[in-house]
Symmetry: C2
Amino acid sequence: MNPDLIAYIKRFVDISNEEIDIFNSYLKPKELSRKAFLLNEGQVCKSRYFVNSGCVRLYYINNKGNEQIIHFAIDNWWITDYESLINKTPSKLYIQAIEKTSLYELPEESFDALCEEVLNAERLFRKIMEKTYVAIQKRIEYIYSLSGEQLFETFISANPEFTQRVPQYMIASYLGMSPEFISKIKSKK
Amino acid sequence: MNPDLIAYIKRFVDISNEEIDIFNSYLKPKELSRKAFLLNEGQVCKSRYFVNSGCVRLYYINNKGNEQIIHFAIDNWWITDYESLINKTPSKLYIQAIEKTSLYELPEESFDALCEEVLNAERLFRKIMEKTYVAIQKRIEYIYSLSGEQLFETFISANPEFTQRVPQYMIASYLGMSPEFISKIKSKK
């Protein structure tokens, strides 16, 4: 298993080497070339994904026909469409690689089997969900509290690597602003 | 235990009557009068709460000195400040009763003990978190996709009971709009 994932898991739960081996046996390594899709609108999402290296975006097409990015996931982040995964309903979302990306896929049957075998797996994923929830709640706080300029500054200082790796128009989409607005903020400095 | 909470738990996991009894032994019934606080800014949040009946709001004071509501919780909803609870840091939020409210408090030490004793408790809370996450992600989608008028209509048709129970200025705060804007939408019909 990727040592980063082992370290990640151990930050959340006590887990033995034997349990790590079981966990590892359920992970399917997957390579995505740039612009390849992990999930398409209309498909039922059947897996959770851990990004070993690279970057993917989760987005939908809004009613004006534009891409609206909901999340990015880079090295050591989990990503999936929880709504489609939990409800077994066709996804409204796309998950696409922005760079060449190396992932682990954890199919939902394997996830269920893992949770039966490794007691701490439920705890691990409960804690990951809580942390993910805190992050998305903070995003709502920011949307309601910060000006466009502050939103951009806050995002960039919390995620400095993104400016290097993610095209500016995608950061604009994630923050709900136009690429022109970001160019204006940048040229002001 | 409140039969609604038993039904709620059984929607997520298989659980025996003995396990329900253990769960129940960790819950502390709590009554809040209208406007009473469950959590104040600066306190460390140490419990999860299940609303048996009534209504509470979770909010913060934004940099303009105004209340910004992040969530409501009515009958059969869980509420807490996950950031403060997980990180054991002082909360930036308030949780306050809007109506006379009857709750169960599940203190975090009890939660940990419950998860040790009842195998399915971790699974239950992992699934609750996933569902809660789907709801908040959908809210971000709505913020970025819908006009103010559509946001209001969508909220009201998904939560018709709120218009009866929650003052209009609080719904406005939750939706990030002014009470005057909501009055204008209503008078247009």
